[in-house]
C-alpha cells in the first residue's frame, strides 16, 4: 500500500515563509480577465494544453461514434456520403493534429519537463504561450469550418489530386492545409523550448546520464519534430499554393507530380506516428519504475532505443506508399527498414519486463494501463510486421485491416499510456488522488471495449471491406462484425465517461495527495501538489537518476539567484554544472495578440494570397512590441550585470 508520508515537509521556517511570499509576489500569474491572456507560466499553459487536447479527443471520439452508428447497419442513411467524408477526415485530422501530438508532446513537455529537470519555468515562456494560442485558434477554425459544412473531407492526409484544385472544389482542403500550419508552428515552438529547457536548464548534478527517461523521450520527440515537420510544412504549403496561387506542383500535365506530395507528407507522417508513441513508451518507463520500486532496468538501453527509433523513423516513410508503383528495390529496402523498428521496441519491452520481474510490483491503476499497453501495443506491432511486407500490404492496403493495425498501435501506444499518465500525475496537478475503484473500472471497460471494437476490423478488412466507405450492401458478410465493433464503441464511450467523472469528482473530493503520493523518484514529486507558481521553494540539486530516491541526507539546494526577478540558473549541457544566471520575461499580452494576428494571416490566406502578405504587417508589429524591452527591468539587470569572462 502506498501512503503519504511527507506531511512534515510543508512545515516551513519563518525565513522560508518570507522567501516563499517573496517568490510568490514575483512569479504570480496576472489576475483578472485580461490577466488570463498574459499568463506565461508553464504549469498554466500546460494545463490549458491538456484541457484543449482532451476536448478535441472527446470531439473526435464523438465523431467516431457517428461513424460507428452509420456502419452498424448496411445501407444505412443516418449520414450522407458527403457528411461521412467530412466526419472521417475530421476524426483522423483531429486525433492526429489536435489531440495526439498536442497531448503526448506539447502538454507533457510543457507541464512536466521543467518540473522534472528542476527549474522554475520552461525556456521561452512567451513563445510557449503564443504556441498554445495558435494551437487553440487552429482547432477552433477547423471546427467552425466543419459546423459551416466546410469540414475537410479528403482524408487526414489529404492526398492530391483528390485534394488539389481540380478535384477538391470549395474551401474544404484549404482549411485542412491551414490547420496543419497552425499546429505545426505550435509543435515546432514547443520542440525548441523543450530542447533548450533540457539542454540548459537542468538542476545541477543532472548530467546527461541522469536525465529521467521521460525527459529523454520528450527530447527525442522534440528533435523529430524539428526534422520531420518541415515535410508537412512544405507539402501543405504547396497544396495551398496550388489551390490559391495557381502553382503547378501537383499537376502532371505541366511537369508536376502527385507523388511528391506523398513523399513530403510521409517524410513527416511516419515520424509523426513515432512522435506520438515515444512519449507513450517514456510514460511507461516512468510508471513501471515507480510501481516496481526500483531503478529502471537497462536505462542506457531504453534511452538508446528511443534515440534509435527516432533515427529509424526517417527511413521508413515509403512503406506507406507500397501501392503507388514505386521501384521494387525501394520496396525491399523499406520493408527491411520497417521490420528493424521491432529491435529497439523489443529491447524496451524486455527492459520493462525485467524491471517488473525484479522489483516489488505495486499494482495500481496507472500500472494497469501500462499492462494494457503491453498487450495492445504488441498486437499492433505484430500486424505491423504483416503490413510491412509488400505482398500482404498490397492485399490489405486501404482495407479495415490497416484501420485495425493503426488503432492498435496508436491507441495502444498513446491512449493507454496517456490514461495511465492522467491517473499517475493527476495528484500532482490537483493535489488530490483519483478514485482507484473507478480507475480500475474505466481501465477494464476500455481494455475490453477497445478489443471488441478494433479486433473485428482485422477480420472485416481481410474479408475485403475498404476504408472510408460510408455504407455497404447487406450481403457482403461484413454486417455482424461491424455491429460487434459498434457495440465495442459503447464500452469505450462508457469508459471515457467514467474516467471524466472520476477526474471531475476526485478534483473536488479525492483524498489529499501530498507532494509524493506514489513515493516516486523524479523531481516533480519534490514540490507541493499542485506546484506553486515558482515550482520549487529551494531549487534542487541531483545526485542520481531518481533524484528523490538517490538524494543524500543533506542534498544541497541552490541559493544566490535574485529573488526580486524571475531568475533561473543555466547549467552546462553534458554535466549540468552551474554555468550562468538569466531571467525569464514577465507576463505579457503581446504573445496573445501576436497569435491573433498570425491566425488572421493564416485564415486570410485561405481566401486570398494577400492574406499572408498584408497579414504579415500586424504580425510584425505585435512581435516587435513583444520583443521591445521595458525600462525598469532593463536598468535593474544592467546594474547587476556580470559578464562572462572570455
Amino acid at each position: 500500500m502506498i501512503t503519504t508520508s511527507v506531511g512534515c515537509q510543508t512545515e516551513l521556517t519563518d525565513a522560508e515563509r518570507l522567501q516563499a511570499a517573496q517568490l510568490d509576489r514575483v512569479w504570480q500569474e496576472p489576475a483578472g480577465f485580461i490577466g488570463w491572456f498574459k499568463a506565461v507560466h508553464h504549469t498554466t499553459i500546460g494545463r490549458r494544453y491538456f484541457f484543449t487536447a482532451l476536448l478535441f479527443f472527446l470531439l473526435a471520439g464523438l465523431l467516431a461514434g457517428a461513424m460507428r452508428l452509420q456502419l452498424a447497419f448496411p445501407e444505412a442513411h443516418f449520414l450522407s456520403n458527403d457528411k461521412y467524408n467530412q466526419i472521417f477526415t475530421m476524426h483522423g485530422s483531429t486525433m492526429m493534429f489536435l489531440f495526439a501530438v498536442p497531448m503526448m508532446f506539447e502538454t507533457f513537455s510543457v507541464y512536466l519537463v521543467p518540473l522534472m529537470v528542476g527549474t522554475r519555468n520552461i525556456a521561452f515562456p512567451r513563445l510557449n504561450a503564443y504556441s498554445y494560442y495558435l494551437y487553440a485558434f487552429g482547432g477552433l477554425m477547423f471546427y467552425i469550418a466543419f459546423v459551416c459544412n466546410t469540414g475537410a473531407d479528403r482524408g487526414w492526409f489529404s492526398y492530391v489530386p483528390l485534394a488539389g484544385p481540380d478535384y477538391g472544389p470549395g474551401k474544404r482542403p484549404d482549411f485542412w492545409a491551414q490547420l496543419i500550419t497552425f499546429t505545426e508552428v505550435s509543435a515546432l515552438a514547443v520542440a525548441v523550448e523543450t530542447i533548450v529547457t533540457v539542454f540548459r536548464l537542468r538542476a545541477p548534478g543532472m548530467s546527461l546520464n541522469r536525465i529521467p527517461i521521460f525527459v529523454w523521450g520528450q527530447v527525442v520527440v522534440a528533435f523529430m519534430v524539428i526534422f520531420a515537420l518541415p515535410g508537412v510544412v512544405l507539402s501543405s504549403t504547396m497544396l495551398l499554393l496550388d489551390r490559391t496561387c495557381s502553382t503547378q506542383f501537383f499537376n502532371p500535365a505541366v511537369g508536376g507530380d502527385v507523388l511528391l506530395f506523398q513523399h513530403l507528407f510521409w517524410w513527416f507522417g511516419h515520424p509523426e506516428v513515432y512522435l506520438i508513441f515515444i512519449p507513450g513508451t517514456a510514460i511507461v518507463s516512468t510508471i513501471v519504475t515507480t510501481f516496481s520500486r526500483r531503478h529502471v532496468f537497462g536505462y542506457l538501453v531504453l534511452v538508446l532505443a528511443m534515440v534509435a527509433t527516432g533515427f529509424m523513423a526517417f527511413g521508413l516513410w515509403v512503406h506507406h506508399m507500397f501501392a503507388t508503383g514505386i521501384p521494387q528495390i525501394a520496396e525491399s529496402y523499406f520493408t527491411a527498414a520497417s521490420m528493424m523498428i521491432a529491435i529497439p521496441t523489443g529491447a524496451q519491452i524486455f527492459c520493462w519486463i525485467a524491471t517488473m520481474a525484479t522489483g516489488k510490483v505495486v499494482l495500481r491503476t496507472p500500472l494497469w494501463w501500462v499492462i494494457g499497453f503491453f498487450f495492445v501495443f504488441v498486437m499492433g506491432g505484430m500486424t505491423g510486421i504483416f503490413v510491412a511486407s509488400v505482398p500482404v500490404d498490397l492485399q490489405v492496403h486501404d482495407t479495415y485491416f490497416v484501420v485495425a493495425h493503426f488503432h492498435y498501435v496508436l491507441i495502444g501506444g498513446a491512449v493507454f499510456p496517456l490514461f495511465g499518465a492522467i491517473t499517475y500525475w493527476f495528484p500532482k496537478l490537483t493535489g488530490r488522488m483519483m478514485s482507484e475503484k473507478l480507475g480500475q473500472l474505466s481501465f477494464w471497460l476500455f481494455f475490453v471495449g477497445f478489443n471488441v471494437t478494433f479486433f473485428p476490423m482485422h477480420l472485416v478488412g481481410l474479408r475485403g471491406m475498404p476504408r472510408r466507405v460510408y455504407t455497404y450492401p447487406p450481403n457482403m458478410g461484413w454486417t455482424q462484425l461491424n455491429q460487434i465493433e459498434s457495440l465495442g464503441y459503447i464500452l469505450l464511450f462508457l469508459s471515457v465517461c467514467i474516467l471524466l467523472w472520476n477526474m471531475f469528482k476526485s478534483a473536488r473530493s479525492g483524498a489529499i495527495a501530498g507532494p509524493n503520493p506514489w513515493n516516486a523518484g523524479t523531481l516533480e514529486w519534490a514540490t507541493t501538489s499542485p506546484p506553486p507558481c515558482y515550482n520549487f521553494l529551494h531549487l534542487p540539486t541531483v545526485n542520481g537518476r531518481e533524484a528523490i530516491w538517490d538524494a543524500t541526507p543533506n542534498q544541497p539546494v541552490v541559493v544566490g539567484l535574485d529573488e526580486d526577478a524571475r531568475s533561473f540558473l543555466t547549467t552546462r549541457t553534458l554535466d549540468a554544472e552551474p554555468d550562468g544566471r538569466d531571467e525569464f520575461p514577465s507576463p505579457s499580452i503581446w504573445p496573445f495578440l501576436a497569435a491573433v494576428a498570425t491566425s488572421l494571416a493564416f485564415i486570410g490566406s485561405i481566401f486570398t494570397p494577400w492574406g499572408i502578405t498584408i497579414g504579415a504587417i500586424p504580425v510584425a508589429i505585435t512581435m516587435i512590441a513583444w520583443f521591445w524591452p521595458k525600462r525598469q527591468p532593463a536598468e535593474r539587470r544592467r546594474a547587476r550585470e556580470i559578464w562572462q569572462s572570455e
Binding site: E11, T13, E16, A123, F124, L188, A191, V192, V196, F199, R200, I226, F227, L229, P230, L234, M238, D242, C245, S246, T247, Q248, F249, N251, V254, G255, G256, D257, L260, L264, H538, T541, N554, V557, V558, V559, G560, L561, L569, T570, T573, P578, D579, G580, R581, D582, A620, I624, W628, P629, A634, E635, R637, R638, R640, E641, I642, W643, Q644, E646
Partner: protein, 205 residues
Amino acid sequence: MAERVDRAVLDVSKLPTVGFGMHSITWWGIMGMMAIEGMVFLLMIASYFYLHSRSVEWPPDRNPPDLFWGTLNLGLFLVSIIPNEWYRRRARKGDLRAVRLGLVILSLFGIANVVVRYFELWHLNTDWSIDAYGSAVWTLMGLHVLHLLTDLIDTLVLTTLFFTTLVEGKRFQDAEENAAYWYFVVGFWVPIYLVIYWAPRWLHA
C-alpha cells in the same frame, strides 16, 4: 528544524548573467529555428530535383534565370560577412559604438540585398503558374526572400534599440545572435543560388 538552518547549499550568486554563444539560451533558440528553417530549405531543394527527375526538359522551353542580379546579390551577401563578423566579435566585448556602427552597416546591406532581390525576381524568366519548374523556382526564391525580409526587419528594430537608453547585456547577446542568424541567411543563399541559377544550366547541358 535546527538541521534545516545548516542545510547544504550551492551558491550561484557569482555566476555571470551575460554570456554568449552556448552560454546564452536565446542562442540555442536561434539554433533551433535555423535547424527547422534549414530543413525546410533542404526539402524544398530536394523537391526541386525530384520534379526535375520527372521532367524531360529543364527548364522547359525557356531560358534559365539571368545570371547578373543573382550573382550581384551573392557578391553583396559575401562582402557583408566582413562587417558582420566584426560587429559580432565586438558585441561579445560590449563595444557599444562598434555594434551601433555594425548594425547600421548591416541594415544598409540588408536594404541593398532586398533591392537587388527585387530585380532578381524580374529576371527569373519564368512565371510560377506556368509549370512545376516555375513553381519550384519561385517557392525556393520566396522562402529565401522571407528569411531576408525577416532578418532585415529584425536588424532594423535592433539597430533602433541600440540608439535608445535600453541597452544592456542582453541586447549585446541579441546583436551577437542577430549576426549569427545573418550567417544562416547568407549561408543558405549559396546553395539556393546554385540551384536556381546554375542547376538549370548544368542539367540542360
